[in-house]
């Protein structure tokens, strides 16, 4: 049974989420990947205001394809989250609560997730066409010069994801790989 979650995500909802939960997200997402993260962190370090208020928000690590005429967005699956690890603890300090990407996070990020009571979701890498169907509105709101790496504000409905690192720091990648390795090697 997939849990329906409304974005921006509330603290009391985050505390109920456990690694392994399959969720459907509805609400506002901001996109941001390598170049946007770099620029945001430089802005924070310069004590300048960010183009978006990150408090309680969720960032989706994605660089979408251009939309065909008449369509909202092009294919838009997640990119590898690990490349954002260097920036994520600083971004979480700004009040960010959710991240959607694919792949593992380092220890500093997991510690920052626990400290800031945040959550890391993963979506299916490479399922860009399927995920584009769940995006109902899309507009570039910052860093337009970055092209596919600009920050978009998206409105999504029933966007499928899996809670991969919960606010307690439980990491689905660690537990599931070990579990199935054991099963497969017994067989």
């Amino acid at each position: 049974m997939k849990k329906k979650i409304t974005l921006p995500i509330q603290d009391e909802v985050i505390s109920t989420l456990e690694a392994g939960d399959e969720v459907l997200l509805t609400g506002i997402l901001y996109t941001g990947r390598d170049a946007a993260h770099k620029r945001m962190v430089e802005t924070i370090k310069d004590n300048k205001p960010l183009p978006i208020d990150l408090r309680n928000q969720t960032i989706y690590y994605v660089g979408p394809c251009p939309a065909k005429p008449g369509e909202i967005i092009g294919s838009c699956g997640p990119t590898t989250s690990g490349r954002m690890d260097a920036y994520t603890p600083i971004i979480l300090e700004q009040g960010l609560k959710g991240m959607i990407g694919k792949g593992e996070r380092n220890k500093a990020v997991i510690d920052a997730i626990i400290k800031n009571k945040a959550v890391y979701f993963t979506a299916i890498g490479g399922a860009g066409a399927l995920l584009a169907d769940r995006v109902k509105k899309a507009e570039v709101i910052a860093y337009e010069d970055l092209g596919a790496e600009a920050i978009y504000k998206l409105y999504v409905e029933d966007f499928p994801a899996v809670v991969t690192i919960d606010a307690k720091g439980n990491n689905l990648y660690d537990t599931q790989k070990e579990k199935y390795k054991k099963i497969l090697n017994q067989a």
Binding site: G20, E22, A35, V62, G63, P64, C65, P66, A67, K68, G74, S75, C76, G77, T79, T80, G82, K102, G103, E104, T122, I124, G125, G126, A127, G128, A129, L130, A132, D133, L146, G147, A148, E149, P160, V162, T164, L172, Y173, T175, Q176, K177, E178, K179, Y180, K181, K182, I183, L184, N185
Partner: protein, 280 residues
């Protein structure tokens, strides 16, 4: 002697850009279906179904299967009895990519300088490998490759004494470290032999072979089969969230090497490993 105009080459390249990004090849579709039947993780099974559905949506709507429409790698085989007329061949290929990525609504992912990192905005330049062969044809294979899986690829100069065991150990270690980042289920391209620049090229070429076609040499085919079994016992599973289906296929290419050397390269391909060929 046959004449081929660069206009024809440009149009063919532009078409290949779109087709390779919209349509998943049949061998991978079949691999996904049969892996789904054998998957032991319920979440893994459901992820495989989503991946199959995704390819269908992309095909039906003529949109990219994956938003990372990649660095374009082009293999051009030129028959020595062909005379190319018109513009420069190199420009025709790069223009074909500009046109294909613009008109096909594909993502532009190339940055002009690896350190300064400003997007070229037209996905060029492509990486082009030319070879001259016998005959009166030009064969163009276009293989756009996503960054996520490319980043998890690796090269190692082994010692001859490391032997088959050393090769397999290195491949397994590379796949294990790639884990969820490279978008499993994966296609593993392995290049063994040659030298420092040849082994990765062999690994890249290995990804062009359909996954249901084994290497003609018996000991290489056996290594492909053995590696696939071992990789699918690592537990990584679809998207790294656990299960049996870590890889759909392992393809190995080999080349003669120096008496002192045993280079091995592993080019990791994701479940959207793309390649499409046209013969002019």
């Amino acid at each position: 002697m046959k004449e081929i105009h660069t206009c024809k080459i440009q149009d063919a390249v532009s078409r290949l850009c779109m087709e390779s990004n919209y349509y998943l090849s049949e061998d991978i579709k079949e691999g996904l279906l049969s892996s789904k039947a054998e998957e032991i993780s319920p979440l893994g099974k459901s992820i495989l179904q989503d991946i199959i559905d995704n390819a269908e949506v992309a095909e039906k709507r003529a949109i990219p299967i994956c938003q990372d429409t990649g660095t374009v790698v082009v293999f051009v085989e030129i028959g020595q009895d062909v005379h190319i007329t018109g513009d420069s061949l190199e420009e025709a290929i790069q223009n074909g990519i500009r046109k294909g990525y613009q008109e096909g609504f594909l993502r532009k992912s190339m940055v002009e300088d690896p350190l300064l990192r400003v997007n070229t905005r037209d996905n060029t330049p492509a990486i082009i490998h030319y070879s001259i062969v016998k005959g009166e044809h030009i064969k163009i294979t276009l293989a756009p490759k996503g960054g996520g899986s490319e980043n998890m690829s690796a090269l190692k100069m082994l010692k001859p004494s490391d032997g088959m065991e050393g090769v397999e150990e290195f491949v397994l270690k590379t796949v294990d470290e790639a884990g969820p980042n490279a978008c499993p289920p994966l296609i593993i391209g392995v290049g063994i032999g040659g030298n420092f620049e040849m082994a990765p090229l062999l690994a890249k070429k290995a990804l062009l072979r359909p996954i249901n076609q084994s290497h003609p040499k018996k000991h290489i085919k056996e290594m492909e089969d053995r590696l696939l079994l071992k990789i699918n016992a690592l537990g990584i599973g679809p998207q790294g969230l656990g299960g049996r289906t870590t890889a759909l296929g392992v393809n190995i290419e080999v080349f003669p090497t120096h008496i002192a050397s045993l280079p091995v390269a592993v080019n990791i391909g994701c479940h959207v490993t793309r390649h499409r060929t046209v013969i002019l």
